[in-house]
C-alpha cells in the first residue's frame, strides 16, 4: 500500500509519520509540496510541524502549495487523507474540513500526553479501536483550539463526525481534560464522506513502548486494514 507523506517547508513530524506508516507494513514516500500528482497512492498523510513558520495563520500559506490541488482531488475521489497537527490546520484552511484551529486558550505551547476518547470506531482510520476506548497520545501545539460556529458544531455532532475527544483517563470530557480550549473537547473530526480525518494529537508519536505509549498504532493499522479490504 503506497502512502504519500507530504512535506512542506517547516514540516517536522514527517519522519515520525513515515516511520509509523512503515511500521504497519505500508510503503511510504515523501512527496514535496511543490510536486504534482498523487496517482498511484492509496492514502495521503499531512504531517505536523510549522509549515511556512505559521506565518499569517497556521496552514494558511501551505494550503496554497501546488500539491494541495491534488490533495483536494484525491479527497473528492474518496481517497483517505489524514492530517495531524499542522496537517489538520492545513486541511481546515484548504476547506476539506470545517472550522479552524486558533491559539490555545492558555496562550502557551502545550507539549504533553493527553487522553482521547474514541467516539467513532467505524471510520477508515479507527476500526482498530472500540468506541469509548480511551487512548493516551501526545499533543504538541500552540494553536490547537478547535473553533467553529454553533451550527457547524451541532452538525458535526449530529452526523457523528467527531472522532476523538479530549477526556480524562476515565473517558470523561471535562474542562480540565481539555488542553487547549477546543469547543466540546474536540480533538479530531472527519469530513462528511468520512475519508478525511484531521486531528491535533500525534498518534505517530505513540507507536512504541519506549515512546511511552503504543496507542497510536491502532490508527495506522486501521487505515491499512481499510485499504487492503478496499483493494483486495
Amino acid at each position: 500500500m503506497k502512502v504519500a507523506v507530504l512535506t512542506f517547508p517547516g514540516s517536522n513530524c514527517d519522519y515520525d509519520l513515515y516511520k509509523a506508516v512503515q511500521q504497519v507494513g505500508a510503503d511510504p514516500t515523501f512527496v514535496w509540496h511543490r510536486e504534482r500528482g498523487l496517482s498511484g497512492y492509496e492514502a495521503v498523510v499531512l504531517p505536523g510541524g510549522f509549515s511556512y513558520g505559521d506565518y499569517l495563520r497556521p496552514g494558511a500559506i501551505a494550503r496554497l502549495s501546488p500539491i494541495m490541488e491534488d490533495v483536494i482531488g484525491f479527497a473528492r475521489d474518496g481517497g483517505p487523507v489524514l492530517g495531524i497537527c499542522n496537517g489538520f490546520q492545513i486541511l481546515c484552511e484548504v476547506g476539506l474540513l470545517p472550522g479552524a484551529l486558533v491559539r490555545n486558550e492558555s496562550i502557551r505551547f502545550s507539549s504533553k500526553d493527553v487522553h482521547l476518547r474514541v467516539e467513532r470506531a467505524d471510520t477508515l482510520f479507527t476500526t482498530g479501536y472500540v468506541a469509548g476506548q480511551v487512548l493516551r497520545v501526545p499533543i504538541a501545539h500552540g494553536d490547537g483550539n478547535y473553533e467553529a460556529d454553533e451550527e457547524t458544531l451541532d452538525r458535526l455532532e449530529a452526523e457523528g463526525r467527531v472522532v476523538f475527544r479530549y477526556t480524562d483517563e476515565r473517558g470523561a470530557a471535562t474542562t480540565e481534560a481539555n488542553p487547549n480550549g477546543s469547543h466540546r473537547n474536540i480533538a479530531g473530526i472527519v469530513n462528511e464522506a468520512g475519508n478525511v480525518l484531521g486531528m491535533m494529537p500525534h498518534p505517530e508519536r505513540a507507536m512504541e513502548d519506549v515512546l511511552g505509549s503504543t496507542d497510536g498504532i491502532g490508527l495506522f493499522q486501521s487505515l491499512m486494514t481499510s485499504l487492503s479490504g478496499a483493494t483486495g
Binding site: 494558511a60 484552511e93 479552524a100 486558533v102 491559539r103 486558550e105 492558555s106 496562550i107 473553533e147 480550549g181
Partner: protein, 93 residues
C-alpha cells in the same frame, strides 16, 4: 496605473475568545488602568500595489482578504485605509 498603499485590519470575530487580548487586559489592569473593560488583539497588514483607481485598489484588497488574509471562521477584516503613493506616508508609517 497608480501606486496605492492599503491598510487592512484583521481582528478576532466578536464572541471568539482572544486569550492574547485577555492577558493584555489583565496586564493593563494590573498597571492601574482599571477602566479598561476589554482588549482584543488583531493584526494590521500593509499592501503596496498598483491599481487603476482607488475603488479598484479597494476591490483587490477585498478579494485578497476573502481569499487569504483573513479566515472567515475566526476573523473579521476591514480595509481601513487606501491612499495613493504620494500620500502613502500617512498610512501605516
Amino acid at each position: 496605473m497608480k501606486d496605492f498603499r492599503i491598510e487592512v485590519l484583521v481582528r478576532p470575530r466578536p464572541g471568539l475568545l482572544d486569550p492574547q487580548g485577555k492577558a493584555v487586559h489583565h496586564a493593563l489592569n494590573s498597571l492601574g488602568w482599571d477602566g479598561v473593560e476589554d482588549v482584543r488583539i488583531g493584526k494590521a497588514i500593509y499592501l503596496d500595489l498598483k491599481a487603476g483607481s482607488e475603488a479598484e485598489a479597494r476591490e483587490l484588497a477585498e478579494a485578497m482578504c476573502r481569499k487569504l488574509l483573513a479566515n472567515p471562521v475566526t476573523e473579521d477584516y476591514e480595509i481601513s485605509a487606501v491612499a495613493e503613493a504620494a500620500a502613502a506616508g500617512e498610512v501605516g508609517s
